[in-house]
């Protein structure tokens, strides 16, 4: 890779050992992809729940934070994805003390590195959405696909160590979705199905992701005679990224760079396909827990949920997970109280699958989990759950009746 004077100084260690570690990692990744040089980034967003980091990852962060050199602070606004707990609700989740200790150590290291603990996977709704053409280093698949496809910003998937490195160096290798040639649509998909609920938007996104199949495919979706809002695009993109590892799609009228590719339609998706995907996840029966998470809920989703909770008494735990930015407003507007009066729980700053999902399942006896998140059902199979995908309304019914 071609390095400018500052990058050469980082690599040589002149700007401190931490900056050197960061840029060496980035050069290894950039060399793999044949990056010509670095691109400056304006924001970094770090996925770093401690289930993923483990003891070794936390020690790595602590070593960076302990380094006594001037390169041991982030250079650009650097924020965090959800953590592995909401400390106020950890006892209810039956999380072990060691999990909380590890979380506190990671948080302490991040703070010392200058990272802002925003703990959110909906930063495009709550912190600052990037602008068209802005290069960023985002570390959550749902955030990346939203930034590329809805905002017209430019980001690859930046895993935790790479997002930390981007924060410390203020740049990232120029490959993938930082390059025009990778942002063009490569697969044409047609649908005549108009989703009506968030779970259907997620299911449609999941189907497109499954058909597209890998990171380098950019699907162009046509025939969608609807103007989706931010929450609908959130579920649509998060599921597409989860099912297919997709980082960008083109949706006419939404994606700033949307251009129909000169290709025949490769796939058609109808209502039956969406229904089949939902049916593939145990569509009915007894449930142990209801979870609304992945992505975190917006204020409007919580408002809708609160209205559905009025007058009910749940017989199964219902967990609604939001961001630390939304939670105070949900409290102020009485949404939290309405959900919790029915027996639900509103959690903040975590995400269900990033919060030791296997261990809390065992501790609480949770196996059959109902959710309206297509992303969540796609992930939780590996954690031993039997996930059920249904609308928010049906999930709330299930929390009351104990079955879908």
């Amino acid at each position: 890779m071609k390095l400018d004077d500052e990058e050469q100084a980082m690599r040589a260690g002149t700007l401190g050992r931490v900056a050197q570690i960061a840029i060496e990692h980035q050069i290894r990744v950039g060399d793999f992809f044949g990056a010509a040089d670095f691109v400056p980034v304006t924001q970094a967003h770090i996925m770093a729940d401690t289930e993923s980091l483990g003891e070794s990852g936390v020690r790595w962060l602590e070593a960076l934070a302990d380094a006594d050199d001037r390169g041991a602070r982030v250079r650009i606004p650097t924020i965090t994805d959800p953590r592995g707990t909401d400390f106020a609700k950890a006892a209810m989740l039956k999380q072990a003390a060691w999990m909380l200790t590890l979380e506190r150590r990671a948080i302490d290291a991040f703070v010392r590195l200058g990272v802002a603990m925003t703990d959110t996977c909906i930063n495009y709704q709550t912190i600052q959405a990037p602008a068209r053409g802005e290069s960023v280093a985002f570390g959550d698949t749902g955030v990346v696909i939203y930034a590329n496809s809805v905002c017209g910003a430019r980001s690859n998937y930046e895993g935790g160590p790479s997002a930390v490195a981007a924060g410390l160096t203020g740049r990232t290798p120029r490959y993938g979705f930082h390059l025009d040639e990778h942002r063009r649509a490569t697969l044409r998909v047609r649908t005549d199905f108009i989703p009506k609920s968030l779970n259907e938007w997620g299911a449609l996104g999941g189907l497109v992701g499954r058909l597209a199949g890998n990171y380098w495919t950019v699907p162009y979706l046509e025939g969608l005679d609807a103007v989706p809002g931010s929450d609908e695009l959130k579920h649509f993109g998060a599921a597409m990224a989860s099912f297919g590892s997709i980082a960008m799609y083109h949706l006419a009228g939404v994606t700033p760079e949307a251009v129909a590719p000169a290709l025949p339609v490769a796939h058609r998706i109808g209502q039956g396909d969406v229904a089949a995907l939902q049916a593939a996840y145990a569509p009915q029966g007894e449930i142990d827990v209801v979870v609304f998470s992945a992505p975190q809920l917006s204020l409007y989703e919580l408002r809708e949920l609160a209205a559905m909770c009025d007058g009910r008494r749940f017989t199964r735990p219902l967990l609604a997970v939001t961001s630390p930015q939304i939670k105070p407003d949900a409290d102020r507007f009485g949404l939290t109280k309405r959900i919790e009066d029915a027996g639900g729980h509103v959690l903040a700053g975590m995400c269900f699958y990033q919060s030791y999902a296997r261990e809390i399942a065992e501790a609480n006896g949770w196996k059959r989990l109902a959710t309206n998140s297509a992303k969540l059902v796609n992930i939780l199979g590996g954690y031993g759950y039997v996930p059920l995908l249904a609308s928010m309304e049906h999930c709330v019914d299930a929390a009351e009746k104990g079955r879908l």
Binding site: H25, R28, V29, F32, F33, M47, A48, D49, S52, L53, G54, E55, S56, G57, W60, G139, D140, T141, N156, Y157, E158, G159, G160, P161, S162, Y175, G176, G213, N214, Y215, W216, A241, S242, S245, A247, Y353, Q354, R358, N378, I379, G381, G382, Y383, G384
Partner: protein
């Protein structure tokens, strides 16, 4: 038989393959405590991956693998290497961070060419996989 990859990272390794035309995500597919594929629908469900050279189709899912390969390596329950038809940045970042050898991008489907259970040698500098 020797196969050439377009991208490679890591150190030379020799080991036994675990082959399937399926994807790979440390979060979605593995029980990392037991060291086995845990997703019931994965073609390698129930099989141990520790110390094996995984020959798979592509990277799946999210960003967690970038941390998890490193964490798995420190506990000695990590694949010896990953060989894939295509990859997302996350697995590359994870391989770089966790010092896991990886070869990516071949002529044809590599999962249809390398036998399951074969002993193979990977040379990242030469970007080659050799079936012994």
């Amino acid at each position: 038989m020797i196969y050439s990859a377009r991208h490679a990272i890591g150190k030379p390794v020799r080991g036994q393959t675990l082959v399937a035309h399926d994807g790979f995500s440390a979060r979605y597919d593995l029980d990392r405590i037991k060291g086995v594929f845990s997703r019931a629908t994965h073609k390698l469900a129930g099989q141990s991956y520790a110390g094996r050279i995984l020959v798979l189709d592509t990277a799946k899912g999210g960003v967690a693998s970038a941390w998890m390969l490193h964490e798995m390596a420190t506990r000695g329950l990590v694949p010896l290497a990953l060989v894939l038809n295509s990859v997302n940045p996350i697995l590359v970042q994870g391989a770089a961070f966790g010092n896991v050898t990886m070869l990516v991008g071949f002529d044809g489907d590599i999962t249809a060419q390398v036998p399951h259970g074969a002993t193979v040698e990977l040379d990242p500098a030469a970007r080659t996989l050799r079936v012994l």
